[in-house]
Amino acid sequence: MMDAGAVTGEAKRHRAIIQFGARDWTLGAAILLLLTAACTQENRTLGPDQPQTPPNGPGDPRAQYFESNDYQVSQGGRYFTWYGCGSCHGDDARGSLDLAADQQRQPVSFDLLYAVIADGHKRFGHDYGAKIPTEQLWQIAAYVHELASLKPERRRRQDLDQAGEPQGSTWSGPVR
């Protein structure tokens, strides 16, 4: 770097600084890109609840958004806890009640899953289709649909980071 030739050395140093600057920018941009690449995974718009109607078939384009969006899936997991789904589909669930294993064995399409949650529980005395708002049903369906691909700690959120949140109607207060 420290060239003895006075004029050329000065010029070289200048060039070196410019080059270093350019490289620095490229590196910075690359790091920024890496850091923000995952941000779109949580994209959502704040506004009136969407969607307001159930899926209209297996090819409903809205399902793709809900499945692939981290926020919607997490929110589904939260309502799964809130509405006490864990009382039957909890950690000790076996057979078809173990939703993650069931989903792994035999993946169910999004619209069918939605229908099972909304209408399939009527025979157990729960009309979730009428009791849970549509947007939340979409989110819960997305969560159950993605269960098989979620890491255990995200699958067991009600025991971990959601431990203090209300779980069903027997909840008696936050964890202290």
């Binding site: 704040l46 307001q52 009791k131 939340q136 959601q162 203090g164 207060g173 936050p174």
Partner: protein
């Protein structure tokens, strides 16, 4: 012109007697912290004036560039300078000791359990509202309400804080300092209000998009009024008074509202949202976002995301007649 002056005066005075300011303390805790603030103001103010005074003195003595021509007035080894330096250090040490001592004494008294704690209140922070629970005076259970804290004047209440989700902070500036509300941790704060009135509390730790709309009302009332209020709160919800309210009751207690809300005495027993048993008697809805009116209730039910974007309250699709009935019923729940 006169009106404008009056308005300016009102606004200026309003800053001193607001319902959410630490400069108008109404409780022992806020008073001791206010005194600490005054102490800091005096100590720092005096030091500040001294520094500025010496600066002016130096500039004055150096005026006209004469100082540059003559030798320094004092050599570093000069005894007078050494003495002045010692005095200056002493002033700083005394000031810092005053601040540290005052702070220690105030903090110790705030943290100590008060002998006359007579009221336990459980406050649970949720994204974006406050669950408030009192001991039922008649039985052993807890009586829940939301976003409204009632305190009897002259008695110390111990507020037990818990969080259901993220970190929040409990702050009623007129009554006490802040106390963080941390998930999985039990924090407590004592409040001893000395003056009657309505005050405003606010979440003071960023907790999500609707952090700014996570407020609550605090009412300091006479012990008799407090006991009467608690007795009413402990009662189950009143029965609907007319056909419209009866329809509203059906909508609220058998529809989507009941998944998250409780109306004691009815089928609605959800635990995730605020208790609605006596919502009609509260001063505001949606954690201070709107005042309590039938129109606001209707707007809140129809499109909560437009009023508090990011709130956990979902829009509930109801026919106009049902929405009207639900609002009428909720408003009647005094």
């Amino acid at each position: 012109m006169k009106r404008r002056a009056a308005l300016a005066a009102t606004l200026a005075l309003g800053g001193c007697s607001g319902v959410q300011t630490p400069l108008a303390p109404v409780a022992d805790q806020a008073h001791s912290q206010y005194d600490l603030l005054l102490l800091m103001l005096w100590v720092c103010g005096i030091i500040y004036l001294l520094v500025l005074g010496f600066l002016v003195l130096g500039l004055w003595r150096a005026r006209g560039g004469r100082a540059a021509a003559v030798a320094p007035l004092l050599e570093p080894a000069d005894k007078r300078l050494g003495r002045l330096f010692a005095v200056w250090v002493a002033i700083i040490v005394v000031g810092l000791l005053l601040l540290a001592g005052g702070s220690f004494l105030v903090e110790r008294s705030l943290a100590a359990a008060q002998a006359d704690e007579t009221l336990r209140v459980r406050v649970t922070a949720h994204q974006y509202w406050w669950r408030v629970a009192y001991r039922d005076p008649a039985g052993g259970g807890w009586v829940e309400t939301a976003n409204e804290l009632h305190l009897p004047v002259g008695r110390t209440a111990r507020i037990e804080l818990g969080s259901a989700d993220v970190i929040h902070s409990f702050w009623v500036p007129n009554i006490s300092g802040k106390m963080d509300v941390i998930p999985g941790r039990a924090n407590a704060i004592d409040l001893t209000p000395r003056r009657l009135g309505w005050f405003r509390g606010q979440c003071a730790e960023f907790c999500g998009p609707q952090h700014a709309h996570m407020a609550f009302d605090v009412k300091v009332e006479t012990p008799a009024a407090f006991a009467a209020w608690l007795a009413v709160e402990a009662r189950p919800a009143r029965a609907p008074g007319n056909a419209e309210q009866a329809r509203g009751m059906q909508v609220v207690t058998q529809g989507q509202c009941a998944m998250c809300h409780t109306v004691r005495g009815t089928a609605a027993a959800g635990r995730n949202g605020p208790d609605l048993t006596h919502i009609g008697s509260r001063r505001s809805i949606a954690a201070g976002a709107l005042s309590m009116t039938r129109a606001h209730l209707q707007g809140w039910i129809a499109n909560p995301q437009a009023i508090k974007p990011g709130t956990m309250m979902p829009a509930v699709t109801l026919s106009p007649a049902d929405a009207d009935a639900a609002a009428a019923y909720l408003e009647s729940l005094k």
